[in-house]
């Protein structure tokens, strides 16, 4: 059943992130990139396996909507950090 599989996978991803963050001695940037990637994978997993983004007759609209939301979210977060760094 996809639910169980998804659950196990999300637990694995969570503990993997925990391990990478606290038990390895990689550089700060490397750690952030790795745990960030794990978070994105886990979010995608929830979207597809639990929320069934691709279900229903409007799956296309739903998907475009979420992608656009993510686009704005990335612009907001990355843009703010960049602009507020004052060229440093």
């Amino acid at each position: 059943m996809t639910q169980v599989f998804g659950f196990v996978l999300s637990l694995v991803l969570t503990f993997a992130a925990l391990f990478v963050a606290l038990k390895t001695s990689l550089s700060f940037n490397a750690i952030i990139w790795i745990i960030g990637t794990l978070a994105v994978i886990q979010a995608a997993l929830q979207l597809f396996m639990f929320m069934h983004l691709k279900d229903g007759e409007d799956s296309k609209a739903q998907t475009i909507n979420i992608l656009y939301g993510i686009f704005i979210a990335v612009v907001t977060v990355a843009g703010s950090i960049w602009v507020m760094s004052f060229g440093m």
């Binding site: 639910q3 169980v4 794990l38 978070a39 979010a43 929830q46 704005i72 979210a73």
Partner: protein
Amino acid sequence: MSANLNTALPLEYQTEQNRMNILGFWIFLGAEIILFATLFATYSVLSTRFAGGPTQNDLFEIKGVMTETILLLTSSFTCGLAIYEMHRGNKKGLLTWMIITLLLGAGFVGLEINEFITYVHEGATMQTSAFLSSFFVLLGTHGLHVSMGIGWAVMVMIQIVKRGLTPVTARKAFIIGLYWHFLDVVWIFIFTFVYLKGMVS
């Protein structure tokens, strides 16, 4: 707008109004993504401005955070099971898994409140520094969402008990399910970019 039933579909998709509500809720979730993104942006920009107050390393404790995370992850899973039972037409299964979900959610909220109280006792309040302002508001907004979700789910469960599984009640349960999973997604990012990141540096 009229109740043209299409019984080939799962209950929650059977009427046109239901399909519109579900699409509308997805779009609302799009707005929620941006709302939380703005809070994350604020936290990211302010997270190193301590004003002489405590830092992430002084405050965060991995044990409590992990417990909260696992509670919420599990609740997302049981919520998925609830909807799965609903699709099999099993009202009892739906309600049972829903109750488990909400208990896990309540546990999460309880732990989070406890965590906040601890911080305040350590002298780390919302007014201490920009870092703490943004921390409390980001997490508080998420916690408030979870609490509202619990209250809302209780309302929907009462309606299911009273009216049984109809296209309308099924839609409501389905939508609250989406909401619940979404809050778990937000937590994944809080866990990663607030707690883990804070404890690395």
